[in-house]
Symmetry: C2
Subunit: 98 residues, 2 copies
Amino acid sequence: MQNAVFKALSHPARRQILALLRKGPQLAGDLAAEFDTSWPTMSRHLAVLKDAELVTAERQGNQILYRINTSVLEDAATALLGLIGRDDGDDPLKEAAE
Amino acid sequence: MQNAVFKALSHPARRQILALLRKGPQLAGDLAAEFDTSWPTMSRHLAVLKDAELVTAERQGNQILYRINTSVLEDAATALLGLIGRDDGDDPLKEAAE
DNA sequence: CTGCTAATTAGCAAAACTGCTAAATATAGT
DNA sequence: ACTATATTTAGCAGTTTTGCTAATTAGCAG
């Protein structure tokens, strides 16, 4: 759902997490270590990102590897760009392609 | 502030408003008429968008004309795209240009 | 100044969000 | 089974967001 994506993007810590994942997949622990907030709080941020499908999680033995999902991010960016082009028709929030 | 922009974008009604403004500037009343929510609620959504500088407001006699601010929207889209490209450096959430 | 329409501000209640600590779960190693 | 580590889930308090109705402000017409 598009709405979940924008909601997930609305918190700076979550955007930061995505920024960190640009370098490549990261373990939950390594991500959490980069922040001042408590571990459980980070865990919840990750859950929000996962719900929005902005990231995927994969168990790796003892730990969990998070990976960014660029296609969802692309869709969000495209949606924003779609809001920009002047439109003379009457079909809002849709024909973003081309 | 970047954060205000993403926060503003996190509510579906506000994204809808931006979509309506694609067609061109609109009076607050005309915008409000497109939604089921009460007038004051719409007014607040508009205020949030204005705070984030996603729209500008201009008095037009009795009424108020809202206009989309595409440059802020572009910046937001660019920020998202910047989150996508693989990065081997260590400078997150920044070098989105080029 | 009075009345009318357009829009915002105030104030309130309900819901959602954030972040914490404590407790639970999962996996690996012994 | 027991322990240690990694991560999530529960439960709670404080804050923010949302949406409503009622009241207010702003500009215009007579």
